[in-house]
Symmetry: C2
Subunit: 514 residues, 2 copies
């Protein structure tokens, strides 16, 4: 007997054919953005802002196409909808969520934000070089206003009560500023004692070794070896990745074309080392999403917190571990000739794990890192709520750095203008770095039960079992679950700072002998 | 008294606001294409072909938007249309032409061609490396079929009687294969005697000097110095250009973001030298189009023949002249250390002007170059007319090379697969290289009357007056005229091979002492 054709299925296929275009367009736009950051001649910025504005309008029209709304209704209201499997249901859920949200945003707001974003990034770069916040200020003000308007439009449909929560939801669905505040307060309380024990320990590393000059050409070769270790291919004829150089490292891409960037400083080689490790963590996630789900909403990553869990895992838990360097240190020594021939492994590992309050987030140690995030979270929250103005940012930034980290910020380039996020219209993202750290603690302690020898394996140059575990337990689910649900599925619990603090305490008590 | 509002003007402004988006989108797509050629990880090709197909569909929808048709009709039928100035009239003409043509093409044909183009380029690269035409053949067959269908759709609306003429018209509006055949026959008759005199001359250059190894890093620096000479900026903070490396050199871009590519071979430095010169000629044209006309149809270049006139001018008439090397040779000597210290200027200039039938078009001398073009023109004509099939291409290619140039092609990589054009869906373009040469003869002999000392100026390192003359007589007109009209406006006559042959004869009789 021939199965009768189910009209809800037919509409589903039709809908999927239409929404498939969205990630294809987005991935094209991400190339245009990558080019703007890495290759574009400086004079091209006005043309580029027009291109991005136009494309954002096209994307908005595509995502708010009434045909999508009509098909969604037909599918959702069909009696057979309940028989859909979880995959189709999740696709419908994600399409509905995006459709409802995007239709709330006026097209001109979307287009204007995109144009302003491109311009603000250009000005930020110049202002950072010249250490001139006054140059950055007027463009940032326009951008913040546009983002505030977007946040207000999204509040209702996202079911949140604060504009800032609407922005957080873009990156970490289901998590609010209230949840984050609570988690961050406890986290701070857990970190401060570890910080103080490290600072007051008599055992301190010699970090001058990290200032030894390594020619940039050598650093580039080291980067490639690191990507090889993790199986992120940037050199072969089948490579799906590449490394370029930007002031601010980032990862962008989709499935078979995922690119990372870094920066090289001859007298600070560890900067590129750890930014490469960080971005490789992101890239592995994107590259190992389930190929069968490409172009479907479920074929995307779960959340930015889950992204940061993996970047921080590769950068820190693995990349700053004694085990990784047991394997990789001989290579580093060989590549850098005589630079480290007399430096013992333990001294090197302690040096790259120096705990010391500092100015630059992306170069912060694991203990103080979350304090950098907490500062940004508090400022963003007040900025989007309208409690502080853009012009106050430098003063507030510097005050918080003095209070939380005891650090005096001398100029805005290494203060409030250090990160690209605010210039790039990315608000509500920062908390995901700290959430990622917390998730990493929980997820690794789960993984440990199934891959008990992972540390030994790393020291033997074997990342394969960890990678496979991540594929089986994280990557393969794509965006099938909201982050809190995926966390629960993997670890059996909600956000819990315990395992991360335990990991830190175990690691640093050994390093600092406290 | 307030001027009454003219509804034809209002509609004109409205129309211009709509069509402005077309070049913005096209310039974004050109970045995506540039990236595919220069930076994309190999694995990204399927995703890329989907991106390009999608964008081509969006562009097609944009250019065939019925609102454009409605506005055009209102403007054209309005009694005040006759009072429009020539600029507005030309914009309307160009918008109408494009609208009528694009609406003839089915969207699925446009999208499928674009997808197939990306795939065919990828396969061509691989097939060329492996010297395997059989790999290339099936994809090329699909692409040729798609282009034939497009050509048939366009014939009527373009008012031509052969499909191939419809393709030529895309690059050189108003020129047909009949005109070209006639011009090329005469050109061949003019070139053969010069060729024979050069070949039979007892004075022959020593070209072994051009095989001296120049490290690629040095060649890269020479490239930058050459771009500086012509005022194509790739290094400053206000640069509107850049140089990258591809197998097949090309120029792409729009106004403030115009990029060139080249290839470097350590034992063939003149290859990059002349490809850089060629592409700089293209780039200068694009960068110096009238800024006030950006995003308007008249703000584009006149034709590909006019483009090639300028690339061949910079590459050959200037770039292979004694005057250019009088100025630049000391720099080359210095950059390459001891490589040319004992080579006299005249011997170097003769070497870079060696006349010798060869296999590779882009490395051909000025006398045989047009024969390479004639071969391609004849093949394209037969291919699009269906008189020959893709599978016959290698044999026909090799036969023609034997007959016209007396050259034996040993493998298809340096034969029928040498150029990117056919893989890139570019048919009807090749003739414009020869037309460009012919235009260059005519236009330079006009310029000479107004800049009589241009050769002396070049030898003094001064390109300024030539550039200004080009801006005033070519660039500033953008796409205000059809190529034959612009040619007439500048030189007072139609296509005339005389000045180009005179230029060649004068130059080569001196070099070869005949």
């Amino acid at each position: 007997m021939i199965q009768p054709i189910d009209p809800s299925d037919l509409n589903y296929d039709k809908l999927m054919e239409i929404v498939k275009k969205i990630p294809i367009l987005q991935s094209a736009v991400s190339i245009i953005n990558w080019d703007m950051e890495t290759k574009m001649p400086p004079k091209g910025i006005t043309l580029r802002s027009n291109q991005l504005a136009l494309l954002s309008g096209i994307e908005h029209k595509m995502t708010t196409n009434p045909i999508i709304g009509n098909l969604l209704e037909k599918i959702e209201n069909h009696p057979n909808f309940v028989t859909f499997d979880s995959i189709r249901k999740r696709n419908i859920y994600l399409i509905r969520k995006n459709y409802n949200e995007q239709t709330k945003l006026p097209e001109n707001l979307v287009v204007e934000t995109e144009r302003q974003r491109a311009i603000t990034i250009g000005v930020w770069k110049k202002a950072k070089t010249l250490n001139k916040f006054s140059l950055f200020k007027p463009e940032l003000e326009k951008l913040v206003e546009l983002k505030k308007r977007a946040a207000e439009f999204l509040m209702d449909v996202k079911g949140v009560h604060k504009p800032y929560d609407a922005l957080i939801d873009i990156f970490e669905p289901g998590v609010t500023s209230a949840i984050i505040s609570n988690v961050f307060n406890n986290l701070k309380r857990g970190l401060i004692p570890i910080l103080n024990k490290c600072l007051s320990s008599s055992k301190q590393p010699d970090i001058s070794i990290l200032r030894r000059k390594i020619p940039i050409e050598i650093q580039r070769r080291i980067s490639i070896l690191i990507t090889k270790f993790f199986g992120y291919d940037v050199t072969s004829e089948k490579a799906g990745g590449r490394i370029d150089e930007t002031e601010h490292p980032f990862t962008t891409g989709y499935y078979d074309d995922v690119r990372i960037t870094t920066h090289y400083y001859a007298d600070n080689f560890s900067s590129s080392l750890f930014s490469i490790l960080h971005e490789v963590g992101h890239a592995l996630y994107e590259q190992n999403l389930p190929p069968k789900w490409i172009y479907q909403p479920i074929g995307e990553s779960c959340s930015l917190g889950f992204h940061e869990f993996q970047s921080r895992l590769v950068e820190n838990i693995i990349g700053r571990s004694t085990e990784f360097w047991t394997y990789f240190y001989p290579t580093l020594k060989e590549m850098t000739k005589d630079k480290f021939s007399h430096v013992k492994l333990n001294d090197f590992v302690h040096a790259i794990n120096l705990v010391q309050p500092s100015k630059i987030r992306i170069e912060a140690d694991e203990i103080t890192y979350c304090l950098h995030i907490i500062i940004r979270f508090e400022i963003e929250q007040d900025l989007i709520a309208g409690r502080i103005e853009v012009e106050e940012l430098p003063d507030i930034w510097n005050q918080k750095y003095a209070t939380y980290l005891g650090v005096k910020i001398e100029n805005n380039s290494e203060g409030v203008m250090q990160d690209t996020h605010w210039a790039s219209a990315i608000y509500g993202y920062f908390p995901t770095y700290a959430l990622g750290n917390i998730y990493s603690g929980q997820i690794i302690s789960t993984m440990e039960k199934e891959v008990p020898l992972w540390r030994t394996e790393i020291s033997e140059g074997n990342f394969q079992n960890i990678k496979q575990w991540l594929i089986n337990n994280v990557h393969k689910y794509g965006n099938l679950y909201n982050p809190q649900d995926l966390l629960k599925k993997i670890t059996g619990e909600g956000i819990n700072i315990g395992p991360y603090l335990n990991y830190l305490d175990a690691k640093y008590s050994q390093l600092y002998d406290y």
